[in-house]
């Protein structure tokens, strides 16, 4: 077993070189490089944690903004509906008023027209009476040779016309 057989001649060399190389590893790698590697890990972990926190904050902000938007939208919708209802009411009222005024105008015109028609009819009857009276006077003068008083003729014609 060389570990024991060679112990007396090799122990100093073994101890020396182990201490030398382990010391190199400890001071160069363990003390020099490992902390930098671990710092990188720590920086990354911190960055991930920060990013997660920022994302969470952004999500909360988005939620609250959405809520605010929802409230605003609801108010605006209610306002718009009130506005529409009001406009509808006004429009209906305006239509009613215009219909009423148009009706009045139409009625007035109808009355005027009826009056005109009645006037025309009366005028026409007068004309007919006059013509009939003259005609009757002429007829009597030609047939009987009697001159009839115009007033008498008119009474007679009226009697005959109106029965």
């Amino acid at each position: 077993m060389p570990q024991i057989a060679q112990l007396s001649e090799t122990y100093a060399s073994q101890i020396f070189w182990v201490l030398l190389f382990f010391g190199l590893i400890f001071f160069v790698i363990g003390k020099g490089m490992v902390p930098k590697v671990m710092e990188t890990v720590a920086v990354r972990d911190k960055q991930i944690a920060d990013d997660l926190a920022a994302a969470e904050a952004a999500r909360k902000a988005a939620d609250s903004q959405e809520e605010a938007w929802r409230v605003a939208a609801n108010t605006q919708r209610a306002e718009a509906q009130a506005l529409i209802a009001k406009a509808k009411g006004e429009a209906a009222k305006a239509t009613e008023t215009r219909l009423a005024s148009a009706n009045t105008v139409i009625d007035q015109r109808l009355a005027e027209a009826e009056q005109r028609i009645a006037g025309a009819r009366a005028g026409a009857l007068e004309e007919i009476e006059t013509v009939a009276t003259e005609a009757a006077g002429d007829i009597v003068a030609r047939l009987a040779g009697v001159t009839v008083d115009a007033a008498a003729a008119r009474v007679a014609v009226k009697e005959a016309l109106n029965g």
């Binding site: 570990q3 060679q6 100093a12 060399s13 073994q14 182990v18 490992v34």
Partner: protein, 261 residues
């Protein structure tokens, strides 16, 4: 190593000075640069390249950076779980320990004989693992006495010790405490050595039985070869587990020093 079909499974653990450095010495102690030291150097370079490749410090890590960061996070979590917040400052030490042993174990298992290089697993020498174990034990002692002074001895009297056992429990605790560096060093050394011996013995079965003819090659060599494949997988697992156990136990002992019981 093989003379006339004889394979010495222990030969692989022989330490040999390399590059003519036999005469190197400091204060009378001979410190030749051996094959063991060479593989420590290779382990150090490999570990350096591994961690260096993960130093790009990108926000979104690549595969290599991910691998390095997962190793540091693994050690960090190990210490956080076993020692608590006070364990953060031991990350460089536990990381160095864990990765040094892990890389040494795995590098020693590589089939480099195929390209003519003989891998050497220095963690199969208790003169190497012992240094690491004593270092961990010394840190536990220093931290313990530094933080708690003589109160650190209360470690040997666990909470709830019955008064009539007060003469016995501290003795048992003291023994179990003092055994720690040996158990740390011997566990790693024995596990690595046993695996390598087993692989060497099985491979000698394969070679010798093949040399004895087709019949023995089929009856003995083939099953041994299949067993070797399975044990190779097991040894890779053991390489990781032993590194983990060393780091885990060291962090548990550090917990005793930091927080007492």
């Amino acid at each position: 190593m093989a003379e006339a079909g004889k394979v010495d499974p222990m030969h692989q653990f022989t330490i040999e000075p390399m590059f003519g450095t036999d005469h190197w010495e400091i204060a009378g102690y001979s410190i030749p640069f051996t094959n063991s030291a060479l593989w420590m150097a290779i382990t150090t370079v490999a570990l350096f390249l591994f961690v260096w490749g993960g130093m790009k410090r990108q926000l979104v890590p690549g595969r290599w950076q991910m691998a390095v960061e997962s190793m540091t996070s693994f050690v960090d979590n190990l210490l956080a779980a076993n020692v608590g917040p006070a364990g953060k400052k031991y990350v460089p030490y536990i990381f160095s320990l864990f990765m040094f042993i892990l890389f040494a174990n795995v590098l020693g298992l590589l089939p480099l004989m195929l390209v003519g290089v003989h891998p050497f697993t220095f963690t199969s020498h208790f003169s190497a693992t012992g240094v690491l174990a004593i270092m961990s034990f010394a840190i536990v002692l220093i931290v313990g006495f530094w933080r708690h002074g003589f109160h650190f001895f209360s470690l040997f009297v666990p909470h709830g010790t019955p008064l009539w056992l007060i003469w016995l429990i501290p003795v048992i605790e003291l023994v179990s405490f003092l055994v720690r560096p040996f158990s740390l060093a011997l566990r790693l050394f024995v596990a690595m050595m046993a695996g390598h011996v087993l692989l060497e013995v099985l491979s000698s079965f394969v070679i010798d039985s093949m040399n004895s003819g087709a019949l023995w090659g089929t009856v003995v060599g083939l099953p041994s070869f299949l067993l070797m494949i399975a044990i190779c997988a097991l040894e890779i697992l053991v390489a990781g587990i032993q590194a983990y156990v060393f780091a885990l136990l060291t962090s548990l002992y550090l917990n005793d020093a930091e927080n007492l019981h």
